[in-house]
């Protein structure tokens, strides 16, 4: 059994590396359109978001609808850091520190939000995470933050009331967000972060802690009866998931020159989008959510030539993917297909002949 999970994980890492090699090859040989090039980093952060949300939805079994909120925290924390240290340190170091700061601050917020949220279950938990996601986005939109020789200035009113001196610098300008960011993210960094995310989530799943998290998901009462602390392990999954969403946020903010919190990037639409990746890829199936994230990020762009029919086709693809993944008939068909392939490989002539009949 050990070797089986090991092989499964190796395939997952392999897919990511293969994807990287193909894309990098296309970019270097000049065969990739600029549109696709622009999608490379988004694909990476969507994969990270999907995998990390799967930790809460699939592994821990709680429906969370506020994932974009955590991404928002990571993005803003790292953007503030980036603007503050702009030009004072090498780009690579800046990004590395930004990632750590983004993940750490998001983890703290994940913990604080987890305290009230994880007392709830089911639909109630989903609604409250949705609310927190929206709160984060709206609060960030109302904050003005500036820095001058006297230190940091903070206001919730407007940029004038910051009272900055002549040389002062406005970092966060309310709804106008943060500008002047370094665009240092690229495909290589994105893929490395995807691999780190997979490493953390997959290894956690196959450890003592992961076993406890899944046991609690399967039967809370039985888990308590054998002495597993429900609140501790639910919190563990929630905080790790939030921190990884924060990492995705850092990648997001380092892929833009100006960062704004709109309902498009950090709103509940985004949270639902990430949830769609998870559900379509299979709840609890890490590799599936990864693949779903890639396909559903590329698809809308590739369907642009259909103009008005774009979202119609997109919806149809969503439905057929869902059917392919979870309709009983489709599962049956896939099983028989897999069996046929396996048989052809193992027992050549004899059974293959019977098959043809």
């Amino acid at each position: 059994m050990k070797t089986k999970t090991f092989r499964q994980n190796a395939v997952t890492y392999g897919i990511v590396i293969l994807f990287y090699l193909i894309c990098q090859g296309l970019i270097l040989s000049g065969n990739m359109s600029s549109l696709m090039k622009g999608l490379m980093v988004p694909i990476c952060y969507y994969v990270i978001l999907a995998v990390s949300l799967n930790l809460v939805v699939g592994i821990s079994g709680e429906l969370s609808l506020g994932h974009a909120g955590f991404m928002c925290i990571g993005a803003y924390a790292s953007a503030i850091f980036a603007v503050c240290v702009d030009g004072k340190m090498p780009e690579g170091l800046e990004l590395f520190l930004a990632l750590i700061i983004g993940a750490a601050i998001t983890a703290v917020f994940g913990f604080l939000i987890g305290i009230p949220v994880l007392r709830l279950r089911g639909d109630y938990l989903a609604i409250v995470t949705l609310a927190f996601g929206e709160i984060i986005k709206n609060v960030v939109n109302a904050v003005y933050l500036g820095v001058d020789e006297n230190g940091l200035h903070f206001s919730m009113k407007d940029s004038l009331s910051l009272g900055l001196s002549e040389e002062g610098l406005t970092i966060m300008n309310g709804a106008q967000g943060i500008s002047g960011l370094p665009r240092t993210a690229n495909l290589t960094i994105g893929i490395v972060l995807v691999l780190i995310t997979l490493f953390i989530v997959l290894n956690l799943m196959n450890s003592r802690q992961g076993r406890a998290i899944m046991a609690i998901r399967d039967n809370r009462i039985a888990a308590e009866s054998i002495g597993l602390s429900v609140s501790k392990y639910k919190m563990m999954a929630f905080v790790i998931s939030a921190a990884l969403a924060g990492v995705a946020g850092v990648l997001y903010s380092h892929n833009l020159s100006a960062l704004q919190a709109t309902s498009k990037n950090f709103g509940y639409n985004q949270s639902i989008m990430i949830l769609v990746f998870v559900v379509l890829g299979g709840i609890g199936n890490i590799r599936g959510s990864m693949i779903a994230a890639v396909i559903l990020t590329i698809l809308p762009e590739k369907l642009r030539f259909l103009s008005d029919y774009r979202m119609l086709i997109y919806a149809i693809v969503l439905i057929s993917m869902m059917l392919f993944n979870s309709a009983p008939k489709a599962i049956e068909w896939r099983k028989s297909l897999a069996e046929r392939f396996a048989r052809k490989k193992d027992i050549p002539a004899e059974t293959a002949g019977k098959e043809a009949r």
Binding site: R208, D218, N219, S225, I226, G227, V230
Partner: protein, 257 residues
């Protein structure tokens, strides 16, 4: 007090009511170490409620519960398990999506520890602990003849084996006292016979005290050394199995007038 110290489980005047209903009223029981004790009674007598009180699912209104001299009254389920009580459930509660092996390993959770980072970075400690857990879990599964099914999902097991797996998981927590809630429910006579042997074996092999709820009189009279009969939440009769089963009041409670 010296008398109580000798008992593995000592319960005094335990009561709980739900609304106006006194579900358990002035319940008391003394179980000696290494004893196989039966709790019987008609449907709705409050047997499972007693189990839920003993394991902290419900907090008792009055009364005290001493486990091996340690007061566990009103403690949380998790702490009670750590103190040494493990249980199975009337309606089987397994971790259905985990493998049979992982179900037992979840039971070993508190006894083989390593940190989260150890698990993520696959340190030598992680490998050592996991190896030991695998060994220990397989040992327990072997007792129940489940070692061949270790890689199956728990929900794929047939009913009888699921019951056995639940007992294995409870045993993995290394309890002092094992509570079995209708272990023979839904089993045929042959399976029940096997189960009786297994329960006896568990008691001797793991040096365990066992309290079980059961409806199957053959099982009860076959393995239980002492009985408590519960009727309408109250103790009707207590004592050695044979004497209790011949008590006219007990027969009346079971068969009616």
């Amino acid at each position: 007090m010296a008398e109580q110290k000798k008992n593995m489980l000592s319960v005094e005047s335990l009561s709980i009511s739900f609304g106006g209903l006194k579900a358990v009223d002035n319940f008391h029981i003394q179980i000696k170490p290494h004893e196989l004790y039966g709790l019987i009674g008609p449907n709705g007598a409050g047997k499972t409620t007693v189990f839920n009180l003993l394991t902290g699912v419900y907090k008792p209104d009055t009364g005290s519960i001493l486990l091996d001299g340690q007061n566990i009254t009103g403690k949380h389920t998790i702490d009670i398990n750590h103190a040494g009580i493990a249980r199975t459930f009337q309606n089987i509660r397994l971790f259905g999506n985990l493998t049979v092996l992982d179900n037992v390993k979840a039971g070993l959770h508190a006894h083989y520890t390593y940190g989260m980072l150890s698990g993520i970075f696959r340190t030598p400690k992680f490998r050592k602990m996991e190896r030991e857990m695998d060994q220990k879990a397989m040992e327990i599964l072997k007792v129940f003849d489940l070692d061949g099914a270790a890689d199956y999902k728990a929900s794929q097991l047939p009913y009888g084996k699921q019951r056995k797996l639940e007992i294995s998981r409870a045993l993995a927590t290394e309890p002092k006292l094992l509570l079995l809630d209708e272990p023979a429910a839904g089993m045929n006579p042959q399976e029940t016979q096997e189960l009786m042997d297994t329960i006896r074996f568990v008691r001797d092999h793991f040096d365990m005290t066992i309290l079980l709820i059961e409806h199957d009189m053959k099982l009860v009279s076959g393995i239980c050394e002492e009985l408590t009969v519960l009727n309408f939440g109250q103790v009707l009769c207590q004592g050695e199995t044979k004497a209790v089963l011949n008590n006219p009041e007990v027969i009346k409670a079971y068969l009616g007038d």
